[in-house]
């Protein structure tokens, strides 16, 4: 089945056309036959970048004022006689949409109908920066491809299996009841994918496997997975909680916020932007949120780059150990995401000191594991350490297929 996967932001649409079947899923052999993105939607110079598998990249700059036009442009290029990979738009058999927030309503992916749209709208208050754009993309795609099934895959759904002891904050309970103030967690698609994929690499049934998955990218989170289910994750009500990230602060005493706002005379907007865009690796180092750049700077003796990396690794270590504790042990630690897949020194540093728990990293294997699946722990280590590149688009395509086939 050919599934078009769409990820719509405020001014961008990222997409992949994925060829998948149930058999291909089992053998992990399904893949994208084309991918691309349209950026700067709403301007006279929107940029459409298109990469058909195994062929030259194509870039187009043109006026694209809304999501609908962007998706029409995507369909045009996919069916173009020269650059296209399919003959006609009708060759797309289903569309999978990334949705950020499914609240407590969605515990797994769903086929979208009018009622589902209404329920997603209900969740928009929890993700005002994302859900409305995701829905706008859905609306546009539904108009252009009205006759195929559309599925919604949520960032939060996988974590709905967390127990109340993990998802509640120590606030008056009435706030949870009234406003849904609780931890939702994000990156669910990614944690679920690497958790699923680890089964093949570990060669043991997932029923008795305890995993700690570390999705480390510009946004970063850790997830505790027991018996195939998320039982805790480091992001909370919003993606701001948990690890130190590229530009987000992660865990913070909330009293600090009010204190800073008073001392620096900040508006709510300035304070929120500070926590989300001026903090984390970037804020601590004062240099960059780019891991490659920070590692290079540290090498040259840049002290705050080192400090930022120390903070980053320390937080990962704390969460890995905490989640091992929460599950009564851990069988494998998995790294994914841009940093997790590529930054070997960070992986080693984050796990250093956890040898007492049986977590060890083989330096040679670790250094060799860049952007590919690999086991990086020594053969005799009690806890496996794995690198598994994530593929959120693929999981969206697979869920869409399974929903259409009626097996999800």
């Amino acid at each position: 089945m050919r599934v078009l996967v769409l990820n719509c932001g405020s001014s961008s649409v990222k997409y992949q056309l994925v060829e998948t079947t149930l058999a291909m899923i089992e053998s992990n052999s399904d893949q994208a036959i084309a991918k691309g993105s349209v950026e700067r939607i709403g301007t006279a110079s929107a940029i459409h970048t298109y990469r058909p598998a195994g062929r030259e990249k194509v870039s187009v700059v043109k006026e694209i004022l809304e999501h609908r036009v962007a998706i029409a442009e995507i369909l045009r290029i996919l069916t173009d006689r020269e650059t296209g990979v399919i003959e006609k738009a009708a060759d797309i058999e289903a569309v999978g949409h990334r949705m950020v927030h499914g609240g407590e309503k969605f515990t797994q992916s769903v086929l979208v109908d009018r009622e589902v749209v209404r329920q997603i709208e209900d969740c928009s208050e929890l993700a005002p920066l994302h859900n409305p754009h995701n829905l706008r993309g859905y609306d546009a795609a539904r108009r252009l491809l009205p006759d195929v099934p559309h599925a919604a895959v949520f960032d939060t759904a996988y974590h709905q299996s967390m127990p109340a002891s993990a998802y509640l904050y120590g606030l008056p309970y009435v706030l949870y009841a009234r406003h849904g103030i609780r931890r939702y967690g994000f990156h669910g698609t990614s944690h679920r994918f690497v958790g699923w994929r680890s089964k093949a690499l570990l060669g043991r049934p997932r029923e008795d496997t305890r995993l700690v998955t570390c999705h480390l990218g510009n946004g970063a989170s850790v997830c505790a997975i027991a018996q195939g289910k998320s039982v805790d994750t480091s992001m909370g009500f919003t993606p701001l909680e948990g690890l130190l990230m590229g530009t987000r602060c992660g865990d913070l005493d909330p009293a600090v916020l009010f204190y800073i706002m008073h001392k620096e005379d900040l508006t709510e907007h300035q304070a929120t932007t500070m926590l989300n865009k001026h903090s984390g690796l970037y804020g601590v180092s004062g240099l960059s949120n780019d891991m490659v750049e920070l590692l290079a700077a540290e090498e040259k003796g840049h002290e705050r780059a080192k400090l930022a990396l120390d903070l980053f690794c320390y937080r990962v270590r704390k969460y890995v150990a905490a989640y091992a504790g929460a599950m009564g042990g851990v069988d494998a630690v998995i790294f994914t995401g841009g940093i997790g897949e590529n930054a070997a020194p960070i992986r080693a540093r984050a796990l250093a000191g956890l040898e007492f728990m049986g977590i060890r990293v083989d330096p040679g294997k670790n250094a060799a594991a860049v952007g590919k699946e690999a086991e990086i722990s020594p053969p005799d280590a009690p806890v496996k350490v794995l690198v598994i590149p994530t593929n959120e688009e693929l999981i969206i395509a697979r869920d869409t297929l399974r929903l259409v086939e009626g097996v999800l």
Binding site: L65, E264, L266, H269, Q270, T273, M274, K277, H278
Partner: protein
């Protein structure tokens, strides 16, 4: 109507603040100043304002760049002819605003809608000068436009529903709460706040309490962000006095007559935050504490 390009006549603090807000919401802006030199300076001031916001963590470096790339400063009024909507933000002077309307009428196509930004002046009178009074509407933005959540949209006698709806559409794009107002001096917000400011000044003048204490009491007691005297200092005392004089003239009610202390301070060049001294002392944007004796002198 979709607004993709906006023209702003006047690159003063209000013009720049509207430009910053509009551009950060994805709309291209052309700001007209009276000369190349002023256009250049307005651009530098916008950049400095954005840098200040960056230092306050309110925007990122790339957002600053995007805003600057969307705003063009020019010295030729005809350049707004190609925009979807024009806002006039020249200083609060009826003749100056009427003159802008007459000149806009000459360079813009007949269907173009004009917004006039004023705190007190008659929209109907400004609209009459445009030659297209049905296509003129008043929008009272509050400074700074980037953060102020409210606008008053003011109907002049002949403002059409379509024109009014266009102004509402712009306000929605800018995430503003809108109130509808019918043309009357000072509309709702300026008219209601001026007697309050005047009364606070009278309390100081009569020696009932010091400026610090008047502000402290009203700020803490009624949960204002600033006391009325600091608020007046921030707006500019000359500007506040101009508003009062206009409302006093128009409405004839003594409650708008500028407090003599305000008049004296303006004459002395104590214009508030922008001159470093008003009811309080300022260094740059920050209020600073005055020595005790100095404080008395400022107040009386």
């Amino acid at each position: 109507m979709e607004i993709r390009k906006l023209g702003i006549v006047g690159g003063g603090s209000m013009g720049k603040s509207i430009a910053e807000k509009v551009a950060s919401n994805g709309i291209d802006v052309t700001v007209v100043e009276v000369s190349e030199a002023k256009a250049l300076r307005a651009r530098e001031e916008l950049a400095a304002g954005l840098e200040h916001e960056l230092q306050k963590w309110g925007i990122t470096q790339s957002e600053k760049k995007v805003v600057l790339s969307r705003v063009t400063f020019v010295a030729d009024l005809a350049r707004v002819a190609g925009t979807d909507l024009v806002i006039e933000t020249v200083h609060e002077d009826l003749e100056a605003k009427k003159d802008v309307m007459r000149r806009l009428e000459e360079v813009c196509p007949p269907e173009r809608i004009f917004i006039t930004n004023t705190s007190t002046l008659s929209i109907t009178e400004i609209a009459a000068a445009s030659g297209r009074p049905d296509k003129v509407v008043g929008v009272h933005f509050l400074y700074p436009v980037t953060t102020s959540p409210i606008v008053e949209i003011v109907r002049a006698v002949e403002t059409s529903d379509h024109t009014f709806a266009t102004a509402v559409a712009l306000a929605r794009v800018l995430d503003k709460t809108v109130i509808e107002v019918f043309d009357s001096p000072g509309f709702v917000m300026t008219r209601a706040v001026l007697p309050f400011l005047n009364e606070a000044m009278s309390l100081v003048m009569e020696g009932v309490a010091s400026a610090e204490d008047v502000d402290r009491a009203l700020q803490l007691g009624y949960e204002f962000k600033f006391g009325p005297l600091e608020y007046a200092d921030r707006v500019g005392l000359d500007k506040v006095m101009g508003w009062m004089e206009h409302l006093f003239r128009e409405l004839g009610d003594v409650k708008y007559r500028p407090c003599p202390l305000l008049r004296k301070m303006v004459r002395a060049g104590y214009l508030g935050r922008k001159s470093g001294r008003g009811f309080f002392l300022y260094e740059g944007h920050r209020r600073v504490e005055a020595p005790h004796r100095e404080r008395k002198e400022v107040a009386r």
